[in-house]
Symmetry: C2
Subunit: 508 residues, 2 copies
């Protein structure tokens, strides 16, 4: 689709500004979405990184910890989604909180946007650059601090990933169950309010973060629940912890997280079962939830997803609406949970359970589940991932999932559905050719309609991916002008110059 | 203890200001704490309610819904604690959210402080008046709205109490487990981030509020998670819900709360067991938690508390460190939980379980637990309650509880200890003669020391009572200057004139 004359003029202007920032200078039809994004997010005009700021960063961090190499900047300009805006001007690698604070002071003084970067595994463009931005890669601050096994808590630095922590904890009989699939950094997971397959039993980051150390825009270091505090609950003042959780780097940079841990369950059982219809599969899930079975994982995969999974992960499951299940507890408790769920599944004409008994079978099963996004992408090589998520009250699930499958057909799109349906949360992954403007427009219409459908059913436009740059219109529909205005007031109060990851969540 | 000359002069000035506000004009030695409090909380000087504002309130609400009668104002000037500051000038009784919004607009226009009032069952003076304040009694807005049994959620208005809701839910097989003891209003419980006996299993208000309708200082109505939204989880924008939960009325007035419900457990068993020492009782609790037993209630009562309980609730339990326990689940799960806990108790030389088998025995047991504060007060008739709470990492409990018993002895105080020790949270209730300045000073020193001890052990100065006017110094110690400064920025952003329950949580 050719851009209109007006849009083309605007894009040309934008592309000149892009050139000044040192990013890719050429304007082609493919620049249109990038220019659109630029126009949407550039309400505050920032200058590019001046030499004096660069010098200050180099002096503070050492030359090796500051890079403007194009490859490095490109690598830090996007997450796993199709979203692209700007490359950062500079990528810095602080080695401790003090250095993060110094970086913030330098950026604040020079009014430079700061974009914190964990593992880049987000899905709504949360780490894309702003014009003249400094990307703060936190992966070199990577220690696991003060594990208190007896209190089930630990403090981690931002370079520690979910798998790093669980490897470290295994011998202590503990684990951190929040599992968004990707091997994300735990502080990044806090910043985006991640959840995932185990949330139905163990909650999301919101319930499992006890305290955060955060560097604010001006370099101030705040401990959301007080320095070295790790009480299981507190009623002392405003809940800053849960304000920073999910703020997507727009209020501050998380440099430490104190997390709640859980005991590795005495018994774990995993199984797969398939159904004749989506309705029956999802009805089973809603009934399991309504009976209050404390199931650890209950994941739904639709026919298209199962087919892609079989191809990608070399499985031979039936291509049908399917549930992947996992039960945790004592031997007796697991037995009783399985009995309840088997009865429910049978009543909904589900297949017999196919058990993944051995740990390696269980790992294979969940690896396949985690690889769902890559499996969908592999069905259309060369495409980028557009993976959207919504979350609705559990009783609304059958209706919206069936509607979504019909919508995909009606829009002529290939997409797979997979989700943490015990929470009412599901994803649609659509591999897209981002250079095909017509396809992009269709996919975006589909996603927008899915978001609106979720809102109409009392749900949210995102259960766990966040808003980033992809869902700002839907956020406005969801919480209204008053809601966004309230968020904006908080943002302005903590970051008056709009330097912390600007343009994300909402425009200021 | 006579006030110093300087303090007396200051108090006289303050008492003149008090006179202008229409509150009690006389200055006596007993005014000292009130004056001290006034000086502590009156950083923003507000004028008394002018006739034009009164007229506007009467026109908006009708004459019957606006009262300046002294008895009404007195009743609305305090909670169940000893804290006293000012009487409100006016008490208003809105009938719906629209009227609350109109009240806020009128108060905003006339720069009048607003103090929301639920049931007045708080313990840190959260509802005490400010000079010239309008107390907004929300008890007439009392409907239970949109119960979704299939999704385990319900929306309630601010006049609905915990018991109202549970009576309403019983036939649907559901309940709302958060139980701070008092029959508090649910929106008030959200405002103060209440928790209580069941929190160890079901979480606190923070985990069980899905959405709030809030009237801001300027009358704007905000829905923290979007109007009519009730998804189990969301990552859409800032977590306004958990910012308002626990903000103690200082950011807005909660006019609706959407709550997460739970199924009434298939089986419930309650029991009591006693120990030779505090250490052994508390060690049992920490071990139960460390084994991951999903116990529903595990309450510790020390010897003094058991003695007071026996007197007040006509029980005949052994006067010894005691645990009150409750188990929820399927028949099998409860059986397995009991087995684990009995073994742990036996290993710590605990007594055999004394079962409360019949529902009426269970009710009697938990009524006695809920009446602990009144039981303590009954040991010293005529006294007011000073009930403080702290929360520490569970492993620190034995140490701090033993220390606290010694501290009570060393300070020469009578006090009882009771708590939700599964969360590391416990209370000390001290009946005090508030007219005895010397005793008040001693009690305050004791409380302050207890708070500091909790902080040193990585805990919080309050697990569930909140800060109110009683714990502002401890909050500062807990989250530091940077933490309070961050809270203050948020407060100023949402309430620039400091009209919403001013002087609570921190001074602006």
């Amino acid at each position: 689709m050719a851009p209109s004359k007006l849009l083309k003029s605007i894009c040309l202007i934008a592309s000149r500004v892009l050139t000044e920032s040192g990013s890719r200078p050429t304007f082609t039809p493919a620049s249109v979405p990038r220019c659109r994004q630029f126009l949407a997010t550039s309400s505050a005009v920032h200058q590019s990184v001046p030499a004096s700021a660069l010098k200050a960063l180099q002096t503070t961090l050492g030359d090796k910890s500051v890079s403007s190499a194009e490859a490095v900047c490109e690598q830090h300009s996007h997450d796993e989604s199709y979203h692209r805006t700007f490359l950062p001007d500079v990528v810095v690698y602080p080695k401790n909180t003090q250095e993060v604070s110094e970086i913030a002071k330098i950026c604040s003084q020079h009014k430079l946007p700061m974009v914190p970067f964990g593992t880049g595994t987000g899905l709504e463009g949360g780490v894309t650059g702003s014009k003249g931005s400094v990307c703060i890669d936190l992966s070199h601050i990577d220690q696991i601090l003060s594990l208190h096994s007896e209190d089930f808590d630990v403090t981690v630095e931002p370079g520690v990933t979910r798998q790093d922590l669980n490897n470290h904890l295994r011998d202590a009989g503990l684990w951190f169950p929040i599992d968004p699939g990707a091997n994300a950094s735990l502080c990044g997971m806090a910043a985006t309010s991640a959840s995932g397959t185990n949330a139905v039993r163990y909650g999301t980051m919101r319930e499992n973060v006890l305290n955060l150390e955060v560097v604010l825009a001006d370099g101030t270091v705040v401990h959301s629940a007080g320095k070295d505090k790790r009480a299981k609950k507190t009623a002392a003042g405003y809940n800053l912890t849960n304000l920073f959780v999910g703020s997507e780097g727009t209020l501050g940079i998380i440099t430490k997280a104190t997390l709640r841990l859980h005991g590795i369950p005495e018994a774990t059982l995993a199984a797969v079962c398939s159904f004749d219809s989506v309705q029956e599969a999802v009805d089973s899930v809603t009934q399991v939830m309504q009976y209050g079975v404390p199931i650890a994982r209950i994941e739904f995969l639709d026919e298209a997803m199962m087919e892609a999974c079989n191809h990608y992960s070399h499985l031979d499951h039936k291509v049908a609406p399917t549930l992947f299940l996992e039960f945790h507890g004592s031997e007796e408790s697991v037995k009783s949970q399985v009995q309840y769920v088997e009865e429910i599944v049978k009543a909904n004409n589900g297949s017999d359970f196919q058990w993944a008994d051995r740990p390696e079978d269980r790992s294979k099963l969940w690896k396949a589940r985690h690889d769902c996004l890559y499996a969908s992408l592999a069905e259309r090589p060369g495409c980028k991932a557009l993976c959207t998520d919504v979350c609705v009250p559990v009783s609304m699930l059958p209706q919206i999932i069936v509607q979504t499958q019909n919508d995909l057909k009606n829009f002529g799109l290939y997409g797979t559905i997979v989700g943490h349906v015990g929470d009412g949360n599901f994803h649609v992954a659509i591999p897209v050719d981002t250079d095909d403007q017509s396809e992009m427009a269709t996919v975006k219409s589909f996603c927008s309609q899915l978001g609106r459908r979720a809102l109409e059913l009392g749900g949210t436009c995102t259960g766990e991916h966040g808003i980033g740059i992809g869902k700002q219109e839907l956020l406005l529909k969801e919480v209204g002008e008053e809601g966004v205005a309230t968020m904006r007031k908080i943002k302005r109060a903590l970051d008056p110059d709009n330097l912390m990851n600007p343009g994300k969540v909402f425009s200021v």
